[in-house]
Symmetry: C2
Subunit: 326 residues, 2 copies
Amino acid sequence: MISSMGKPYVVGIDIGGTNTVFGIVDARGTILCSGSVKTKAYDKVEDYVTAVCENLLPLIESEGGVEKIKGIGIGAPNGNYYSGTIEFAPNLPWKGVIHLAELFQEKLGIPTALTNDANAAAVGEMTYGAARGMKDFIMITLGTGVGSGIVVNGQVVYGHDGFAGELGHVIVRENGRMCGCGRKGCLETYCSATGVARTAREFLIARSDESLLRHIPAEEIASKDVYEAAVQGDKLAQEIFEFTGELLGEALANFVAFSSPEAIVLFGGLAKSGDYIMNPVKKGLDSNVLNIYKGKTKLLVSELKDSDAAVLGASALGWELKDLKE
Amino acid sequence: MISSMGKPYVVGIDIGGTNTVFGIVDARGTILCSGSVKTKAYDKVEDYVTAVCENLLPLIESEGGVEKIKGIGIGAPNGNYYSGTIEFAPNLPWKGVIHLAELFQEKLGIPTALTNDANAAAVGEMTYGAARGMKDFIMITLGTGVGSGIVVNGQVVYGHDGFAGELGHVIVRENGRMCGCGRKGCLETYCSATGVARTAREFLIARSDESLLRHIPAEEIASKDVYEAAVQGDKLAQEIFEFTGELLGEALANFVAFSSPEAIVLFGGLAKSGDYIMNPVKKGLDSNVLNIYKGKTKLLVSELKDSDAAVLGASALGWELKDLKE
């Protein structure tokens, strides 16, 4: 499927609020070598690009030089695929609209594309992971927030403005929990890691039954604590997962009515909580999905290693790029 | 945009439970001539196809013969684009899976495609109507039920099985109104013509203020009566539209988070109720849509004449077909 045209590698750059990680990746999704810089250390984006390139170029040289690289893919918060820009990203040091893909492309002479983290994850899953060979699927990333990447006819859905696929901000409960986006009842307020912690605090106040979670100060409870308690047989913790999973499944049932995907791929810490989360998700999906879709959509967990996924996802964009002189 | 390759016309066939209407259409969306047969009169699908062809062929001959026709498009309930089949349509006389596109193609020697009514409407709007030149939009058909056709990157979203785009069955109210699909709270139970009538009956029972609608027996109230009362200044009728429109707008806000369309095109009787419905839809959309999408998505009313839209929509599929010998 991947035609390397004598250029066997791509570069993936994952930009986070704290760190930027990059690596050289081959067609099988092996990260041959990687490096990182501190995103926050550079107030000016030009200095940042220079720093990344200074660290990246020796890696590229070690794998045979620039002529071996088919393209560079960048995953970044608020990334716009059409323009290759980062637009008003609240957690990055550079304000306004940043033409980041262009800056890298000019500096290195390698075609460069950019998109947001969740879209990059979807392309990564389609290229190297659980969605290989699929043309229609939805990627849901369950982290601090909830992100999504939607693939239709083998292409990421970017929408008319480049910002499609914000399924974490679909409103799932009328007048529900307050969301960081300023609205109420977004999926993200329930089914992210922070949403799970929020549910834990609510359950602990509303109920009086014993729980291992009562030994942790309420404000410090994290999604991980709930998982560990659930594994130890804690009933309340298990019910937190049931609540979270069923609500997610219910939302997924509505997403299925949109694009009827072959699979929904879940990614992130929560998705690794095994049956505790996946059984209720399946239950929520099956009991809410329209009859004609019943039993047709596979529920999968990402096959990419957590630590590699961001760089792999970004890198996968690189395979789709044309040579600059074409 | 439309390349006719010496074949200047297409045929559109719209299959309804009662009537089948067909016509010859040119590249500007003019219906040159048309005809119809009674769908219900034919227990065997082969007899039905024969009857349609016997009525259609003279029309084709009058416009220069089969060699002038680029393709045939069919809009049908439960139509599957991939297989060209109608599958288990409850309101048609033929049971199971019917290979209808194939039957027409063999009979007439003209390439034939088939999809459901709402997808056909979307292609029609993109080819001849309000969505000309758009690559990303959502068509919502407000009739007895609520249907949808979603276009992404210039292509209808069919999903992995051909059945994507059932936005009328997105659940908008937890434990809401009972739907014909067996589930509760579907958009269709509120925002279809029957949904409006249902809201009218609910409002009339729950409230005691005077209304023109009280002069009509409750079971006989139709969406049209509500519109007429609203036009005459009836407060209760106007509030029924506000309720319906705001709920639709709220649902549209979630759809925008999926595919970030350039426009949402509303079609059907309800969409023709002007400001009574469009103002509340806009209000519901604006007050529920995520910040990054705010003010970006146009809210449009279909530009196709009601009486022509079904045939035009179906016909538009015909332009995308390749010659059988290619």
